[in-house]
Symmetry: C2
Subunit: 144 residues, 2 copies
């Protein structure tokens, strides 16, 4: 079974932090919870969401916390061509489609593709590299 962050209670979050020896602060919890509610948000979007529950948190802190959670491998980040950084929970493996027209990033889940890639890179080792991430970055236009 795949535990997705959507199911995490406040106690679960505290546990994730404590188990890694990370101090539990209200700011970290708030940022993590905001990330649970959003899809690969930009920092600006995280700030906006966090402010609903925690109006006094500063932008600095949001930046600090997001970067820190990345270092701890609790969340991950990626940069779109627009130049903004986006963050997301390390839950289910997925890829991204970037909408060039609207400058929007969309999750792309594809279990079959995952298996193909995993299978491929299991047999094919890239010499001299220790690969930690593998994401397909599709780009195009959404036809509505």
């Amino acid at each position: 079974m795949n535990i997705t962050p959507d199911h995490l209670s406040l106690e679960d979050i505290r546990k994730i932090f404590s188990s890694k020896g990370i101090k539990v602060t209200p700011q970290r919890i708030a940022v993590y919870q905001a990330l649970m509610r959003l899809e690969h948000p930009s920092v600006e979007e995280v700030v906006e969401e966090v402010h609903k529950a925690f109006p006094t948190i500063t932008v600095s802190t949001v930046y600090n916390v997001l970067e820190f959670l990345c270092d701890q491998d609790i969340i991950s980040k990626l940069r779109t061509n627009s130049g903004r950084m986006h963050y997301e929970n390390n839950s289910t493996k997925h890829h991204h489609i970037y909408d060039e027209e609207k400058d929007v990033l969309v999750d792309y889940y594809d279990e079959e593709l995952n298996s193909i890639l995993t299978e491929y890179f299991k047999k094919k080792q890239i010499v001299d590299w220790k690969i930690s991430g593998c994401q397909l970055y599709l780009s195009g236009k959404y036809k509505e």
Copy 2:
């Protein structure tokens, strides 16, 4: 046969531009030639290289030309997590590995992978999307 930009003469470059109805300017040629000599350079690196042959060109112009050549599908761009934009010729299809430690982008050529992906997305259409780009973005650490 695959014509890679390394083999292009000045006349070839003029032809590429003219055939698309693009004005041929010394600045555009210089930028394009610089791109032929470098591997997915950042704008700063392009500027440095172009300056060797064309010291009076401005940074503005380099930005303009690179963006313009992208619009014309002559070159393409991608952004690393460091935040800088990188440009490269649209020659042979390839992917990228991003070295998280050194903040360096490396080309990853893999014909077998290309066929697998092409094959896969031939049979699997992503509904409501017109996909124009498909790149694998690997990240990790180089073991020297």
